[in-house]
């Protein structure tokens, strides 16, 4: 069973149903200065509206369930490593960003890892999974160039999309996949 995906989804829905939790979980530069480091992880569980939540889960749940069944350890490792990596990178590279929340970086991460894992399997449909990677890549390029998401609109006009989170998410998937591969080959070599 894809427990990690289901658990993350359950927590996200619970957080959305309890709006007062959001302020204590989202990523805030000043809160990190106060030592509230859990926000590096929990920010990805908070959403700024029903639409924001829906589309992120629409990618995360199927990609997560599939990926966790194919590469359980890698996917779960990604769920632990990618959130702080995304949080720290967006804060470091974009000094104007004071608050951040949303699962899309992790969704992109999961989708990218799924595509790479599939491409590593001999029976995989390489056209399909290369196509998936191409779609993700083009989305990141277009968003970064326009500094706006393609068609998403937040319930709140004051919130801006952060394409950098997707780039870091995808990069983390590549890193986790190849790090795990290197580890596996290293183990095989020493045996």
């Amino acid at each position: 069973m894809p427990w990690a995906t289901l658990a993350v989804t359950f927590v996200i829905v619970a957080v959305r149903a309890t709006p007062s939790l959001g302020a204590d979980l989202e990523l805030e530069r000043s809160a990190l200065d106060r030592g509230e480091f859990w926000r590096l992880w929990t920010a990805h569980l908070v959403h700024f509206g029903a639409g924001h939540l829906l589309w992120n889960l629409a990618v995360f749940v199927p990609a997560g369930v599939w990926c966790e069944r194919l590469a359980r350890i890698r996917f779960r490792a990604l769920l632990v490593i990618a959130p702080p990596a995304i949080s720290l990178t967006v804060l470091a590279i974009d000094p104007a960003l004071v608050r951040f929340a949303g699962l899309s970086g992790i969704s992109t991460s999961g989708l990218t890892l799924l595509a790479i894992v599939q491409l590593g399997r001999p029976e995989a449909d390489t056209v399909l999974w290369r196509g998936v990677l191409a779609v993700v890549f083009v989305k990141m390029i277009v968003e970064s160039a326009w500094q706006t998401p393609l068609f998403v609109s937040f319930d709140d006009t004051a919130v801006r999309a952060v394409p950098l989170a997707h780039i870091v998410g995808a990069a983390m998937a590549v890193i986790v996949y190849f790090a795990a591969e290197a580890l596996r080959r290293g183990r095989a070599y020493f045996r």
């Binding site: 951040f100 449909d125 004051a158």
Partner: protein
């Protein structure tokens, strides 16, 4: 003795009639008290037909918002403490919005009667606000006297019997303006009606209490309507971007977002491959 008694009786009868008739006139009268302020009189004091603003408002998010009562035109108005308490209540409801950086409650001393946009520009410079919610009010109090007021003739009755029927009608309105462009962004009303009885000796206190209660209830409705109008305004901004221009100040809120197009493209890709492989 008889010729002397007749004029005395007539005088007593006349005095009694005058007392009854005179007091009757005062007992069954109706009094009205008005207190009001007007956004139009404040913003356009000497303009019969003000020209509409020509520039598109540019809202730089997150916004710094001011909220203030428009100076009243004269007469008895609300006390400053009362105004600040109501404004603080309004401000408290909107501080949590992520597009609001801060809300300043502006005391009446910062605004002068008929100050217009020149006054608002001064407040903007002093307090660093972008948008201001101007709150105006109109409160009318009526006092009628019912049949119990007949007991007031006994003096003691004025302490005991509630011979006054008071009716307090309050209308509050908040108009939210973008100060640089002079644009009205949205507005919302709040109304209330408070009815109560009182004794003649406690009439002033009762009217003051009713007035305060009327403002409290109207403020509650104003807040609810402001939230509705704010939501409608945000929808308008999203659907008609030409109406209001949105910019972001450094220090913004970011959200990681997927969108329907990505999901659609992925679904289309999967479906296309499935069809292809079925051939």
């Amino acid at each position: 003795m008889l010729p002397l008694r007749l004029p005395v009786c007539v005088l007593v009868a006349f005095a009694t009639f005058a007392a009854l008739f005179g007091s009757g006139c005062t007992v069954f009268n109706r009094e009205r008290t008005d207190r009001s302020s007007s956004v139009v009189s404040f913003l356009y004091p000497n303009e019969a037909n003000p020209l509409p603003p020509t520039t598109i408002p540019v809202l730089r998010l997150p916004l710094r918002v001011g909220v203030a009562f428009v100076p009243s035109s004269g007469g008895r108005g609300m006390s400053e403490a009362q105004k600040l308490a109501l404004l603080e209540r309004v401000a408290g409801e909107f501080r949590a919005y992520p597009f609001v950086q801060s809300i300043e409650v502006i005391p009446s001393t910062y605004l002068r009667a008929q100050g217009g946009f020149t006054n608002l520009d001064q407040v903007r410079t002093m307090l660093g606000i972008d948008v201001i919610a101007l709150v105006a009010y109109d409160q009318v109090q009526f006092t009628d006297e019912n049949f119990l007021s007949l007991s007031y003739w006994t003096i003691v009755g004025a302490y005991i019997f509630q011979g006054n029927k008071n009716d307090t009608q309050t209308m509050m309105e908040a108009a939210v303006y973008d100060i640089p462009s002079r644009h009205l962004l949205f507005r919302a009303p709040g109304i209330s009606r408070v009815q109560a009885n009182s004794q003649a000796m406690y009439l002033d206190k009762s009217l003051r209490d009713d007035s305060g209660h009327g403002f409290e209830v109207a403020t509650g409705e104003l807040i609810a309507n402001l939230k509705t109008q704010l939501d409608a305004f945000r929808e308008r901004v999203k659907n008609a971007p030409g109406e209001v221009q949105i910019e972001h100040k450094p220090g913004y809120t970011g959200g990681g977002a997927m969108d329907g197009v990505l999901v659609g493209l992925l679904a289309l890709l999967g479906f296309g491959r499935w069809l292809w492989r079925r051939k």
